[in-house]
Amino acid sequence: MDTIDPVTPGMRAIGAPRADVLAAIVVAALAAASCTVLVAVTSDHISEPGVHAGLQVWGILSFVLAGVVAWWRRPESRFGVLMVLAGAAWFLSTLSSANLAVPYTLGLVFDLVPAVAFLHVVLAFPSGRLERPFELALVGTGYVTALGVHTVGMTLGGFGPDNLLSLASWESPSHWLENAELIVLSGLSLTGVIVLVFRRRNAGRPLRRSLALLVDAFALALVMIAFLFLSAVFGLVSGETPFETIRRATFFFVGLAPLVFLVGLLHARLARSAVGGLMVELRDNPTPGDLRDALSRAVRDPSLTLVYWLPEFGTYAGLDGRPAQLSAEDSGRAMTLIDRDGVPVAALLHDPSLEDEPELLAAATAGAGIALEHARLHVELRARLEELRGSRARMVDVANKERQRLERDLHDGAQQRLIALSLDLSLLGEELAGETDLKDRLTRAREEIAASLAELREIARGIHPAVVSGHGLGIALEQLAALAPVAVRLTVQTHGRLPEAVEVAAYYLVCESLANVGRYAQASTATVDVSRENGSVLIEVTDDGIGGADTERGSGLRGIADRVEALDGRLRVWSPAGGGTRIRAEIPCAP
């Protein structure tokens, strides 16, 4: 089985950022925002500079500040850094409002980058990395288009006299190229939306709420970017004012997305109050099953699985004590290890989005500490029982096989030889015409052989009922019923053969039960019923005798109970004084 690598998967060793670095970024962002405002209000080529500047500042600060908070709270994720960089790109793009040629050109170069940076942020959520090659290609194409192709386009001319990169004056090709860039970027944005939809579907279970909210906000903003670009190219809306309205709305929504992330973060903080509820629930000494449910509620992940570490077995196990089949790469689940004083206790398999709320996980698992240790002991006990059951089943199986082999040896060896010998003696006798005395002695010898064969048959049958494995339980029980010391009504409804171990156990059960009827019950009739229902085989033997059977009497029934229990079955005996005896076994058996 796969054991879990005792290192939390996906853990990245990035230290928390220093506070002065974060403070410097905030100061820089404020300075950049001021710069943007200054450039806008002094610009000679934009209309309504106030509104324009307000939206730009909204976007820049939204990304940078949300990025700083994310970086601070989630240092192990690159997401915060990525958001800060996206905010920086946004700032650079606002320089296109400047009157001076150098910042104007720089702003133009970065004009389209914020859209790609936004796509990058969306697809890299929540780890800050692009996990799949396709996503990497999508974002890479975006950057090449927005920076590379765009810069080349600027060398062709256009973009006014202040375009320092202009080497020619092919305005028309330059314009066509820009349109092509916008179409490509729209396509990339819409593809990004499709990726998000697929991710959500492939998760196969409802994503946790904060994540779902975030994805929706991102998807909406991506669609708006695509619409904005396409309407710029194809003039989907007529007139300057509606276009400007779309532009502003898009800026507003793109700037909103990082705030949604912040809301998600605050939500996680609020969720920690649910841990308080967990503590209250755990005070009532919950069962191990309730513990999982309580933890699941506290961290709001219905898919949560709890497995316990069993040092003796060197594996993790579920509540049933059976080894948990999981690996570190277990189909998109994330894992958190729980230990007490450095000793592993359990592991949580949960939705990967919970990795973004490590405090919540830590608080919940810390709160469940004692209860977890308690549950672990419970699971360890179950695992030992499971192991015992397995070894008992194996022992019965080995014994069955050995008995079967012995019976075969008898059948193929001694029995056949004795029959052949008897035949030889018989043929010899026929040649001894007239010698009566010798013939009599030969006849007596043959009778001895016949008696030996009869004894061997009984012994062989006692060792292993070959009829059961050869012809099934129904046929074998006919003989038991016919030989029984009382009248027996036999009903066998098994709908075909059963597993051999089950048939053999059922055969011995009926055999021993009917023998007991003869020995103790003083009964006149008995019934034997074998039936299948709900994935089990039911074997019931009843008699109308005096009852009062001692279930521990003799080793016979005890041995039968062992066989039944080794097959995960149960044997029960009812034997009220004067009320007959009823023996009933139920053995699990897949239909």
Partner: protein, 214 residues
């Protein structure tokens, strides 16, 4: 009379073939597996097939299945099943529809050479043979208000021999009484047990078998 034998023990296969040949039975084929047996039955159309109930490869129920297949597909071929264990359940399965041309004997019986050859001949001619142990198990089976207790000891003897598949003449020879006396006992037994008087010997066997089973 033509016979085929399917038996995986060389010792017994040769033994049975030898004693049949000595009794002027034409042994047209000997084999060890059920598949081979079916091939020989199809090719030679023997009068009787003598089949070990445990045949390779698994030694489980290959022999019985081959016997039932011959009974179903080649009704003209008599089938004698030999076994080292005698089971009421197997007899009931083999004789489920008819006892015509069928037999089920303990392997030990081959050493009673004349009886064995007689049983093989009977089966080849459409009669039947049931091992005495099966019959005695069924006869001594406990019943509520056992109707067999109404039979006289002599009638019980006749019932047993009848159930084994013997003809009236066979019963008469065995008990050293006249044929007429056997007929009297038989009609008395059928009367006491409330059985309709059956036609052929093997139909009589089935009637008695089913009666004894219940």
């Amino acid at each position: 009379m033509r016979a085929v034998i399917a038996e995986d023990s060389l010792l017994l296969r040769e033994g049975v073939a030898g004693l049949l040949r000595a009794a002027d039975v034409d042994v047209v084929g000997c084999c060890q597996t059920a598949d081979d047996l079916m091939l020989k039955v199809r090719s030679y159309s023997p009068d009787v097939a003598i089949v070990d109930i445990r045949l390779p490869p698994t030694h489980q129920d290959e022999g019985l299945r081959a016997a039932l297949e011959i009974r179903a597909d080649h009704p003209a071929v008599g089938v004698l099943v030999l076994s080292q264990y005698v089971e009421v359940g197997l007899a009931l399965k083999l004789f489920a529809e008819t006892a015509d041309g069928a037999g089920y004997l303990l392997k030990d019986r081959i050493s009673d050479v004349s009886d064995f050859v007689a049983a093989v001949r009977r089966i080849a001619e459409g009669g039947s043979a049931i091992d005495p142990i099966i019959v005695s198990t069924l006869v001594s089976r406990r019943r509520d208000n056992d109707p067999l207790s109404a039979l006289t000891p002599r009638e019980r003897e006749v019932l047993v021999l009848m159930a084994e598949g013997r003809s009236n003449q066979g019963i008469a020879d065995r008990l050293v009484i006249t044929l007429r006396a056997v007929e009297k006992y038989v009609s008395s037994i059928f009367g006491k047990l409330g059985l309709p008087s059956a036609g052929s010997d093997s139909r009589r066997v089935l009637a008695v078998l089913l009666y004894l089973r219940s």
